[in-house]
Amino acid sequence: MTYLTDDPIDAAALVRTVMRPTDGAYVLFEGVVRNHHEGKAVESIFYDAYRPMAEKEIDAIVRHLEALYPAAALTVVHRLGRLIVGDSSIAIVAAAPHRAEAFEACRNMIDLIKEKVPIWKKERGPDGEEWVGWQGQC
C-alpha cells in the first residue's frame, strides 16, 4: 500500500508487476505535465498531498475497482513534488484476460482518483504560481 512516490515513475516496471500469464491485454495510462493549462503557459507543477489519507483513498479506489472488474489486475503510482513538462505525474496499469475490462478499469481509476484523492497541484509559469481548482471558491 504505497501508491505515492517522490521519484520518477518507471511505467514499464509497473506493467511487469501486474501482468499474469492469463492476461491478454493491458492498458497503461500516464498523466504527464503539459506546457499549458486553460490558455496559460506552464513550466512546472508542484504536487502536494495529504499523504496518509491519499494512500487510503487510492487503496479504497483500487479495492472498489477490483470488486467491479474481478478479472482485472490493477495498480497505480502517483508522483509528488516538483515536476517539469514531460514528467509523468501518475501511471495506472490495468491488465485483464480481455481488453474491455482493462480499458474500463483504467479509465474508471483515473476518473475516481481525480475526483476523490487529496492531492493538489500548483502550476508555475511565466506569470507566477497558482493552485489549480482554487478559483476563489471552496
Binding site: 495529504y50 496518509p52 487510503k56 483515473i110 497541484k121 493552485w131 481548482g133 471552496c138
Partner: protein
C-alpha cells in the same frame, strides 16, 4: 465546559494562506468542523470570503462539516483536489 484537543492540518492553498502546515487547537466539547472553519475565517483575512468550508477530513477520512469533533481528532480542510 470540558475542553478537547484537536490537531488541525493545512494543505496546498490553505497552507500558503495560513503560513503553516499544522496547528493544535483547544476547543470546547461539542465543537464541529464547521465552527473551526468559521474561527479560521475570523483569524485569516484571505479566508473571510469563504462562508462555506471546503471538504472536511477527520482522522484521514472524509466527514460532514457538521460532525462534532472529539478529543484527539486530526482535522483537515480539503481544498478542491487536483491529482492525476
Amino acid at each position: 465546559m470540558p475542553s478537547m484537543k484537536v490537531h488541525l492540518l493545512f494543505f496546498a492553498v490553505l497552507r500558503d494562506m495560513t503560513g503553516t502546515g499544522q496547528k493544535d487547537l483547544v476547543l470546547e466539547a461539542g465543537t464541529t468542523a464547521r465552527q473551526v472553519w468559521q474561527s479560521l475565517r475570523a483569524q485569516y483575512g484571505q479566508l473571510a470570503a469563504f462562508t462555506q468550508p471546503p471538504m472536511v477530513a477527520i482522522n484521514e477520512s472524509y466527514a460532514a462539516p457538521d460532525t462534532v469533533l472529539r478529543d484527539g481528532d486530526q482535522l483537515a480542510f480539503i481544498p478542491p483536489v487536483a491529482g492525476g
